[in-house]
Symmetry: C2
């Protein structure tokens, strides 16, 4: 079985962001996740069991034992295949931002939330997500897993959001949800602009809030009832993006 | 410190559904979760550290050490307080179902999804959720945690869904989402009825599908684009319920 201990350690090291950033590589695990993504990223290495290789035709694979895979894996349940991909490089096209709908994420912390938001973006045809540098890493294995393949169709950029908003044309609307915003169901919503979603506990930061030009609210029902303090950020994203798309379908 | 090993084991045993069902008790852990729920359920026992008791006025508490709490806890991170609650008993009021909007869950498996769906129901003023017997237990500690207190405002019933639908008045609509359903944004939606959400992988079961009178679809955008196979069930619930409520606000 042609894999050294050093290779196993190297794959395992990609659990940490600092190592992913240094190596410019990330990991996808499990049959579904690998098959959903393998056509979309350059493959650095593909490790799988003999049996997996016989069942799937995915080009050059490195055959390893189940126990070697287990040592590489970041998941609790054993897997038959691990792909190491090269990170793509995306550049920000400011003129394109003005023509379409995008998302900006202001310090989203939970990997499951980021993964789910990428799925929502994919479903509703949003191709660019701009993350503040403090947002959880999209190449975190839990995020990759949670996107269910949507990571291969949505470009996720990391940047200084103030710089991003500062560089926008003045006529590009920036939407954000706030408890004192205006009822999203009744507001006029455009077909272009950036929708900002805030941190799980703190919402949109004061720094980012300065750039928001349209303050929205998802009203609870009935008005004034005692209810949860807020919706989970991924839920709120689903509802807000659905509201934009509804008017365009 | 007035707590025996048997008590610690008993609390810990409530991690399992069969023990919760036998004891008719469930657990809430952590300051936020306990404070959000303590007014809503009968308290069987409240275990906390000396310091927590000094900071919070929640009635009779059993003071324990941090290490005892750790032994009771089902969470990875240590907690200062664990409440054991008596399970409430709800009965199904068929005439009330016909007057309002409710949810039915057909074999939802993931505790996080159920918790999130309960939050959505709470936000949008849905007071009853009918779960198939195969749906994950609402008193699973992960579900209790994920509801962020919403569990105290939404009644979650477990029942045979076929029996539930069979007992409904014929004029109560049953909504479900299907890939061949009709565009939810364009359909007429009532102010009453039951919205069925299906299992994470399999969707709505054939058994339940027979009772669905309105087949809906959340269309992806743009029409016909390659996108994820489906939205996560909690996302879909958020979008569907928002669509019903939008028309009532």
């Amino acid at each position: 079985m042609a894999v050294s201990n050093n290779t196993i350690k190297w794959v395992r090291s990609l659990a940490l962001k600092k190592n992913r950033d240094k190596e410019r590589c990330f990991v996808a695990e499990g049959t579904k996740c690998v098959l959903d993504t393998i056509g979309s990223f350059a493959v650095e290495s593909l490790f799988c069991t003999d049996e997996w290789a016989r069942l799937h035709d995915v080009g050059k694979a490195i055959i390893v034992t189940a126990s070697q895979l287990e040592r590489m894996s970041m998941l609790k349940t054993p897997t038959d295949v691990i792909a190491v991909y090269c990170m793509p490089t995306y550049s920000i096209d400011y003129s394109a931002i003005g023509e379409t709908l995008s998302l900006a994420l202001d310090n989203i912390q939970d990997p499951g939330n980021l993964g789910t938001i990428i799925r929502i973006a994919d479903w509703f045809g949003i191709h660019d997500i701009f993350c503040s540098d403090g947002t959880v890493d999209v190449y975190n294995p839990k995020v990759v897993q949670a996107t269910m393949g949507a990571i291969s169709r949505v470009r996720v950029h990391y940047c200084d959001l103030s710089e991003l908003f500062g560089n926008l044309n003045k006529d590009v609307p920036v939407y954000g949800t706030f408890l004192d915003g205006r009822n999203i169901y009744e507001e006029e919503l455009g077909v272009k602009g950036i929708i900002v979603m805030g941190n799980e506990g703190k919402g949109i930061s004061a720094q980012t809030e300065k750039y928001v030009t349209k303050r929205l609210l998802i009203p609870s029902y009935p008005t004034g009832a005692t209810t949860s303090e807020s919706l989970n950020v991924a839920m709120a994203t689903a509802i807000v993006v659905s509201e934009f798309r509804r008017r365009m379908i």
